[in-house]
Symmetry: C2
Subunit: 356 residues, 2 copies
């Protein structure tokens, strides 16, 4: 049976999952959370440990890094929603800002990275509802423990391994080669105490499936230093507004969290839908919500009530709901959401400045 | 003219010097210092900058690292003698302890490295006369500025360059590949302020000529980040007691600064000399001090008075001074020296503990 929240990409995901031993996410304990209920988080490794920690009210940590480049869009918001889910159960939400990687791989200065992290990401993270008491946001370049851990873990891998995973060449600068080790350290950091002695703690990393090679490296290195490999969950991605990949560097593909209503209007009205060629055909054959990025906006972000979403899905399928109407619904919801978010941003500004 | 302090190795050195643009050390300003006067320090790059700083009483820095493995011997003492020369003119004598490199390349734990650095090296450094107010001894692993600098400089080199200089392979652990960058940072560190902004200061690095590839990498990276490449001086090495290389890991090749008189006696009486096969031949043809490691002990360490040294040299050449007599002189001088050093070690212990 095709559920309203299954998309054709599922099939590709399944191949990757089988190949690398990622299990299907079939836990029903958290179905209140739409990203679980709708299988947007569809895979995991060792999530049982996290589930057990939550059930027993035990300590566990979540790690979710950010790259301080570009502007924050709805794709990023989904990760914040996941972190908000976890902060109900733990105050160990680690958010490393990858300013070292930005410096090595993208030539972004440390000053610039900090500015982007603060103004574009951290303020939005708090405005979206992350609790400043529960998140541990840090710049990689300023975290002595993470840097020291990465210097130690560097002993546990070699250039051949980095080359095989990341495609580095002999010309890649050594910093860039080192960047994944810092990221491994970000993830394993909660499993070490201040003296870099192992201090067991379940850790979960919510990532897209494209990040799995990195999770595998992290797990391999964890085993080499005899600590428990971190758990991970895998979410699918909303596509870009034009149907391809959503990208900060292509503004037409994403709605940014700071877009004005005028810009939102333009972007939504250009977005790729599942509508038919003509209005007549649409009414006759019905739309294809599975191919519609507007529908994805509802599914991931704008309509959390399943009944409401199902009505839209079926109304589209029956050809009753036209793309024009549907886009108007989406536009209104996005603009309302961004308006409230903007107000929240003003409220959290001082807190955000304190965090970094 | 063959001076009493020229050895056959000079010729090899000259080839290397020409190939890589190292200049002969022909400054006569510091001939009070026997290592200069006797051309044991025989080459340099850009020493003029240091000379000028000394003459103008300007600030400059000296960097001389130590690898915390094995025991300290007379070969190491020579480097301390050089640092003692410089501390008359500057209080910026940087002594990095390469505990990161020891960890990556030799699998020595940080605890062990610190213990060796303290007990074997730092105590002897102070006992030999380094002024604790003028030396800045630090563990690489604990120096945030040097670590941060190395993370930045890592952007300025790549695996191909490291491979070409150090012979690394794809199997070399990434820490080991990173180690030379930390060493580059040790050397360039005095040229940066606490915010890692360039802050011009002449720096000199006294090394053996085998370390020149590393100096060249350092100079290249300095140019890439637009700071002045450090100056360097090149010293020759005393040979091991058996005529080959002196090595901490081969106790029979070196007199350790903590050897007992009994051990010193054994080592000296087994040492390779420039004596002839038989006493008759020795008396007839004379000895060959240029081939004698006992003579090198005098030249480098035990006889600072040129006249006294020349008498020994000529007496040996004439066949009057036999190896037995000569070894006895050396033995007495070494034992006396080590006895005094031992007393000094007890005196400086507290100071040494404060430094690290």
């Amino acid at each position: 049976m095709l559920t309203p929240w299954e998309t054709p990409e599922s099939i590709d995901y399944k191949e990757t999952m089988e190949k690398f031993g990622i299990k299907e996410f079939n836990f029903n304990e958290f179905n209140d959370f739409h990203l679980f209920r709708r299988k947007i988080i569809f895979g995991h490794r060792d999530f049982e440990r996290i589930l057990e920690a939550i059930k027993k009210n035990d300590n566990f940590a979540v790690v979710s890094g950010m790259m301080p480049s570009g502007k924050m869009h709805f794709g990023h918001k989904m990760v914040v929603d996941i972190l908000k889910f976890y902060q109900e159960f733990t105050d160990k939400i680690y958010i490393p800002i990858a300013d070292l990687e930005a410096y090595w791989a993208r030539n972004i200065s440390f000053e610039k990275a900090k500015e982007i992290a603060l103004n574009e990401y951290i303020i939005n993270y708090l405005a979206l509802g992350l609790d400043p008491e529960k998140v541990k946001i840090y710049l990689q370049s300023k975290n002595e423990k993470v840097k020291d851990l990465s210097l130690r873990l560097a002993k546990r891998t070699n250039f051949n391994e980095m080359k095989a995973i990341y495609g580095f060449t002999g010309e890649t600068n050594i910093g860039h080669v080192f960047a994944p080790i810092v990221q491994v350290s970000d993830i394993l950091n909660p499993e070490f105490d201040e003296n870099l002695e192992p201090s067991p703690l379940p850790v979960v990393v919510p990532v897209g499936i494209d990040q799995d090679p990195h999770i595998r490296l992290t797990r391999d290195i964890a085993k080499r230093v005899k600590i428990t490999p971190p758990s991970s969950t895998y979410h699918r991605f909303m596509r870009g507004l034009l149907g391809g990949k959503m990208s900060s560097s292509k503004p037409e593909t994403a709605i940014f969290l700071t877009d004005s209503p005028e810009v939102v209007k333009k972007k939504i009205f250009r977005a790729k839908t599942g509508g038919r060629e003509t209005l007549e055909e649409h009414k006759k054959y019905g739309g294809i919500p599975e191919e519609c990025v507007i529908y994805e906006l509802f599914l991931y972000h704008l309509i959390l009530d399943d009944k409401e979403l199902k009505e839209i899905y079926e109304s589209c399928k029956r050809g009753e709901l036209t793309c024009g109407k549907c886009k108007k619904i989406a536009y209104n919801k996005v603009v309302e959401f961004l308006k409230e978010l903007k107000e929240r941003r003003d409220e959290v500004l001082d807190k955000a400045l304190e965090l970094i």
